[in-house]
């Protein structure tokens, strides 16, 4: 590193570091940067996600109950969780943590072995989804009790020992011809195909990433105005740091804020929500370019707005409108064709299109080259504009 470059880099990092520290110290950011993005990821996941299955709780012990749980798991569309007791199960269902629950009382295994009648409890909220869930549970229970029911029927007709007949029925279960129903779907659902295989929160996470990176960057442009209002920007110009270095530092501060927001969402959703972000290189380049776009937009707004209140207000408004138009609040696939074209007027539209390719179709950098190119062009134009306007704002 040349003697001139070292101090310049140090100055850029010093300014950027302070801008990031100031963002983290702003109390209102604790909610908008750290909490709200995750809330919306969860909300959208619950609205549009859903391939993970309905959570079902099961209360009961013993080998027979374990077999029933396995059968429930095999039914598809449900995720089985073991719960300690019936009271806890009712509580979890009533709170909505579970879609429904099954209570298997003591003696279930013995009743099956003796081909005796037995009642299993089903707990659910009074809604249509519960009816569907009950059908799934009944199917599993019927399959599990099939041998026992057959043995009881034969014992009643022949007078043979029921428990012997149960063992016999279990032995021949695999050899008995079964009726299988196959389903053929007609009128293919393109949307279902598009979102097939996505985790529950995958869809919301990427949209919210772009929304909040842009929102935090634009709303955070108020900090840039404060730097001018506090007189610190002018004072920076009285130091030996050259004007381009000061401008680079202020731009670096905006980029640091955008990158921090992006990394936070990616890390937390990956660890906490098992979100799949696709090819790391493609996603990395895409997110970096989007962060540059957002940082430049924030710098531009911070250069032209008259005061921090104006910058915050305009920033939030612009960010939310761009996010809505660009498919960060609802997947672009749900948009009518005309709106999809309008979405491409926003960086979000290009970013969400690229992310869909990366996450849903295992796309790489080459597959999203057009989107990356457009974002790079937007970044260059906005950065140039922002640099010129910011220079005018702080250099007399």
């Amino acid at each position: 590193m040349s003697p001139a470059v070292g101090p310049a880099v140090g100055t850029v990092l010093a300014i950027s570091r302070v801008e990031l520290i100031r963002m983290l110290r702003e109390r209102s950011n604790l909610f908008f940067v750290f909490v709200l993005p995750l809330l919306l990821v969860v909300f959208i996941g619950l609205q549009f996600g859903g391939t993970a299955g309905t959570p079902v709780g099961v209360v009961g012990d013993g080998a027979a109950t374990d077999e029933l749980v396995e059968l429930l798991d095999e039914q598809g569309g449900v995720n089985v969780t073991r719960v300690d007791d019936a009271d806890e199960l009712e509580d979890l269902v009533s709170r909505g943590n579970l879609g429904g629950g099954v209570v298997v009382g003591e003696g279930y295994g013995a009743a099956l072995a003796a081909a005796e009648p037995f009642t299993i409890g089903f707990v659910a909220r009074p809604d249509s989804a519960s009816m569907s869930l009950r059908t799934v549970v009944e199917a599993a229970v019927a399959e599990h009790a099939a041998a026992s029911q057959a043995a009881r029927h034969v014992a009643d007709v022949t007078g043979l020992e029921a428990s012997t007949l149960v063992d016999l029925a279990d032995d021949v279960r695999g050899e008995v011809a079964t009726v299988t129903v196959t389903a053929a779907e007609v009128g293919g659902d393109a949307l279902a195909e598009e979102f097939a295989g996505l985790g529950q929160f995958d869809l919301g996470a990427s949209g919210q990433l772009f929304l909040f990176v842009f929102l935090t960057s634009l709303a955070g442009s108020a900090a840039l105005i404060q730097t001018r209002q506090y007189g610190v920007a002018a004072r920076m110009m009285s130091t030996p740091a050259p004007t381009p270095v000061v401008l680079a530092g202020l731009a670096g501060g905006r980029l640091a804020v955008a990158l921090f927001q992006a990394l936070y969402i990616i890390v937390v959703t990956t660890v906490g929500f098992d979100v799949d972000w696709g090819d790391p290189l493609a996603t990395g380049v895409l997110v970096l370019l989007f962060c540059v776009v957002a940082a430049a937009a924030g710098m531009l707004l911070g250069s032209v707005a008259r005061n921090d209140a104006q910058a915050s207000g305009a920033g939030v408004g612009i960010a939310l409108v761009a996010a809505a138009l660009g498919g960060s609040m609802m997947p672009l696939e749900f948009f009518p064709e005309g709106m999809r074209q309008i979405a491409l007027l926003t960086p979000h539209g290009w970013a969400n299109t690229a992310m869909a390719e990366i996450v849903r179709r295992d796309g790489g950098v080459a597959d999203v080259a057009v989107e990356l190119g457009v974002l790079a062009a937007i970044a260059v134009v906005l950065t140039a504009l922002a640099t010129v306007t910011l220079r005018r704002a702080i250099v007399r």
């Binding site: 302070v18 520290i21 702003e26 007189g231 610190v232 002018a234 130091t239 030996p240």
Partner: protein, 312 residues
Amino acid sequence: MDAVLQCTGLRRAFGELKAVDDVSFEVGAGETYGLLGPNGAGKTTAISMVAGLLATDGGEILVAGEVMTPRASAAKRHVGLVPQELAIYPDLTARENLDFFARLYGMDKGGRANRIDRVLEVIGLADRAGDRAGEYSGGMKRRLNIGIGLLHEPRLLILDEPTVGVDPQSRNSILASVEDLATDGISVLYTTHYMEEAERLCDRIGVIDRGRLVAEGTRRELVSRIGEQDVVRMKVVGDASAAAAACESVEGVGSSDAEGDEVVCLMDAAAGRLPALLAAVGTSGASVAGVQVREPDLEDVFLHLTGNALRD
């Protein structure tokens, strides 16, 4: 004089307004130089050019022998600027503010820590160094503002009206700090429109009005410009103009002017000539309700040189 700052023929205009017009002055090593003038006189424009914040339209600025321009990094290393308005981050602590600007001055890590500790002691904020500046009193913020200017041990410290809006106690503290700087050998360029501050702090004073340096010198030199005369201010009942005209005939009176219901005379040896002066007022048909005699000060100098009061 070993000049730390040399300004020659400085000019700067904003449209038709000549904010600074052919201003030249020097500040010697360890000297405190005051730019005294009313608001809008051109003081801040002048020091903005000296600090490299503003380009000149003409003239030259040399700081420790280096030419100062907005791009002159070498010259800027010799200058510490304390702007009139606070220039600190209120959401950072005093130590963080100092550390931030120390990095901008390219100070290395070891030297930075030691120097920050030293500056915190000098400005009396060592025990509050970890508190955010936004929680400080106005005086503490002002001291931090000055501390940032001192951080890199500049040859020239520029203080732009540092006591504006400050309570009397903090003001005294700031003035004492500036006096200490002079004893430490730092050259100070101090702008103010408070005559008392210029008289107390400055080795030499430049009087600036409407962008021009109208006079320069020590306090004694400036006051001598209006002669060894006393100022006699008389409150009169009756026609003040007629009374002022009558006073001009008294021996030793240099000038006599009516200001409202007062007559202001500049005269030699006033103490021995007061009876004659009071008699002259009486001959005009007016009577004297009160008299004040004092030595002239910079306010009178400014009035004498520009025809305007300093606080206008």
